[in-house]
Amino acid sequence: MQNIELYKLSKKVYREGVFHSQLQSAGSNQARFLERVEKDKIARMPDMILKFMSAIYIGILFIIPLRSFGEIYGSLLSGTSIEWVTLVGGGSIGAFLLFQPIILLVFSITFVWGLMSGGPYEWVNTLPFARKDVEKLGLFTFFRSMNVQLIVMALVLPIGSIVSIYFFLGEQISIVNCTILVIFSIIQSFVSIVFYLSIAVILGRKLAGVMEEHEGGSKKNNIIRIGTMVLYLIVSMLAMYTIQIAMDKIPLLYASESLSPQTANIINIVLSFVAYPFSSSYILTGTVIGFFEIPPLVVIGSVTGFILFVILTIFVFSKALRTLRSITSTDIKLRDVEERKIELDDIVAKKVTPVKAFFKRDLSIITREMQGIMYLIMPIMIPIYGAIVPLDFQSIGSYGLSANFLVLVFYIIMTSYMLIVGLTNIEAGGETITASMPIVVRDQVKAKIPYFFGTILLAYLSWFLFAIKYPEFWILLRFGLLYLLAIPIIGIAGLFFKAATFGKLKNKFVLEEIQNKYKFLKYVIGFIFVAVLAYGFALIGGFLGYWIMFGVEIVSLALLSVVFHFMFPKLKT
């Protein structure tokens, strides 16, 4: 079969892989997801949005080498030691080379593991294709999953070098060095792309193994699986922020020489031997500064390091090819798991209270699904990213700490609502089981309440740790502590509101979305309800006094308790 035809066919296999990943991520909401994709064709292509977003991010990274190259000569002229300039140049470009695959992987891995599970190739294997063609198809499909990002990645460094030469370096460095800079940028980009692609194949396969591991119940497996997903989310959020910080701080770093030239030189020598990402970054920095200007050991180190990087790339590429070969073959096996024989005695029934059973079920579902994990992690991550991180890294501006606190409240509203939606979505899954079980909704609701105390409060309390260095903090402390009670109140009230608007039946309220009319409007009103509560408490505190706010919170809590008894009465099973 012609390569071009295979590449065309890879689109179908790729789309199948994306769909497979979406289904996996939807977890207990698969039925709802399928309903959504049937109506909305765009819902089938979330990968396109992520592809272009990551390509834009990778494109923005262009600023790092540009700023770094641009600062080198200015710093040397202002008297900064050559060792320090080499260190900052090597370090910042090294960071640039490190961020590239992070962005690539973070944005693509969700869909990559769908491709790496082997599922999309099963059907292809039943068609009359040569084994070699199926392998090629695997490579093409994988390339398709990252094509836009890889093309941008291939262009960023060479274009960055050319632009730097044109604007900053043209008059400072020789034509030979300019040529070396551009040629090496192209070589480096090519090697890096092969390296990143290979790493993505290997990682994707590992992740597919974790996600679809057959021994789903083991503790070790649970830890690996949850850890992988949490790490993925944390890396994705922090990477974006670190990039932002790195781009802001480069000129400051050049100017603030904080190490002696001798120490900087030792670090330079050590780092230059590191095959990835520093050997290339030191070669690029060395080309700009001039190879005869920097210590010979750094030059030797970076060249040796780069050769090692090429060897490493060849090694991981061949491993990636083997991996691709295995996933496109019909006898795919995720991991050689030793089958443990289960005896009759291994079946042991364990009974807990219904509330505990629901809590355990929710936790089990949440921690096994990407969507669920996001609902659990986002309430911590979003406030940290939006309100807490700026406190530590940036000036909080002329609006002061109080304004930042109000921003935190906004994130608490967002994340409370996410948690409400996430926790009630669980009820949409497992219909067969819940449909025929004598479920007391009161127990279901009770099991969800601890989640509102846990995750969001953690983010809220973290804010205080970061805000402590501001003088306003002590004024806000009492207010903040008295506002603490409002956080679970707004979450729980939002949960009741959702049950009231979506789950009203003839004789009772349920957590499932039964009344689906005006769905979007109900979601919007629900969000506004939570926002009014959250800012309402804050405004009462601000205008009428802290203790009055606390009093209103206590009254609200009592009211919530009454509503709880009314909506979810005690029933005998």
């Binding site: 207990s28 021994e215 364990k350 079920r361 025929s436 004598p438």
Partner: protein
């Protein structure tokens, strides 16, 4: 020509027989009815899923709901469970209203759905611990039953696997076990044999029979005539949401013989599939003849 005439005669005869059968079977109900449905109607927008359906399920019987895909069987089952609210009509399960006495009813019902919508993110161990806790069952008793059912359905090796990774048939086994674990009085099984291997299907059929021998009742929904014929004591045939026939296999067979057709013909005619089936078969024959293997 002769065939067409025969068809007309059969259709004419059927029209009389149908009504008599439905009436006689519904009136036969007595105090031992587990389920009583009267003039049940449910529509989804313009689609009438269940249209004025009445039937009864007696204690100790396997009652079949037979009909083609999309006939309204699953909607009937969901209405019985209180998962859907009827537009019109009455439902009584154990003499109670599913809308009001849901908990009591569900304590005595086991349900196997057409699609195994069970928690895919759990292992059977976690799932059954959850069920035992929510149903407040005796640990030791539940454990014995679990061991028995897992062993007899040859599902032991899946006890610690993620449900998501199980085959359709094994997921179905989990559903079947979940429906039996609390020893319910009424089993509602919607296409329970889907995906099961021959051995497990035989075991499930045996379980339903043993269940009725002990005084339990079963509502067995299926679209496969042979299964209904083999398993059910009485059958209600549903088409386009309407009850078109109800009776024991003998009664339906008598009806078929009287009309000069076999049970399959009767089923296809009542469910208005006879013409389309004949057309498909004729087309297939033509196509196969034209594409003879060389």
């Amino acid at each position: 020509m002769k065939e067409e005439m025969n068809d007309e005669i059969i259709t004419e005869k059927l029209e009389h027989i149908e009504t008599d059968f439905i009436e006689s079977n519904i009136e036969e109900g007595n105090g031992k009815n587990v389920v009583k449905v009267r003039n049940l109607t449910k529509s989804f927008g313009p689609v009438m899923a269940v249209n004025n359906v009445s039937f009864e399920v007696r204690k100790g019987e396997i009652f079949g709901l037979l009909g083609p895909n999309g006939a309204g069987k699953t909607t009937c089952v969901k209405l019985l469970l209180g998962l859907l609210e009827p537009d019109h009509g009455e439902i009584e399960v154990f003499g109670l209203d599913p809308g009001k006495d849901e908990i009591t009813i569900k304590n005595n019902i086991g349900y196997v759905s057409e699609e195994p919508l069970i928690y895919k993110s759990m292992t059977p161990r976690q799932l059954f611990d959850f069920i035992i806790s929510i149903r407040n069952l005796d640990e030791a008793e539940a454990q014995d039953k679990l061991r028995y059912y897992f062993d007899s359905l040859e599902a032991l090796q899946y006890y610690d696997k993620l449900i998501a990774t199980l085959s359709r048939g094994n997921k179905q086994k989990m559903q079947v076990i979940a429906s039996l674990i609390h020893d319910p009085d009424l089993l509602i099984m919607d296409e329970p044999l889907t995906g099961l291997d021959a051995k497990s299907a035989k075991v499930v059929k045996e379980i339903t029979e043993l269940h009725t021998d002990r005084g339990g009742s079963v509502i067995f929904s299926t679209h496969i005539l042979e299964v209904a014929e083999e398993v059910c004591d009485r059958i209600a045939i549903i088409n386009h949401g309407k009850l078109v026939a109800i009776g024991t296999i003998e009664e339906l067979s008598k009806m078929a013989n009287k009309a000069g057709a076999d049970l399959e013909d009767i089923f296809l005619r009542l469910t208005e599939q006879d013409e389309s089936v004949n057309k498909i078969i004729n087309d297939l024959r033509k196509m196969m003849k034209n594409n003879n293997k060389k």
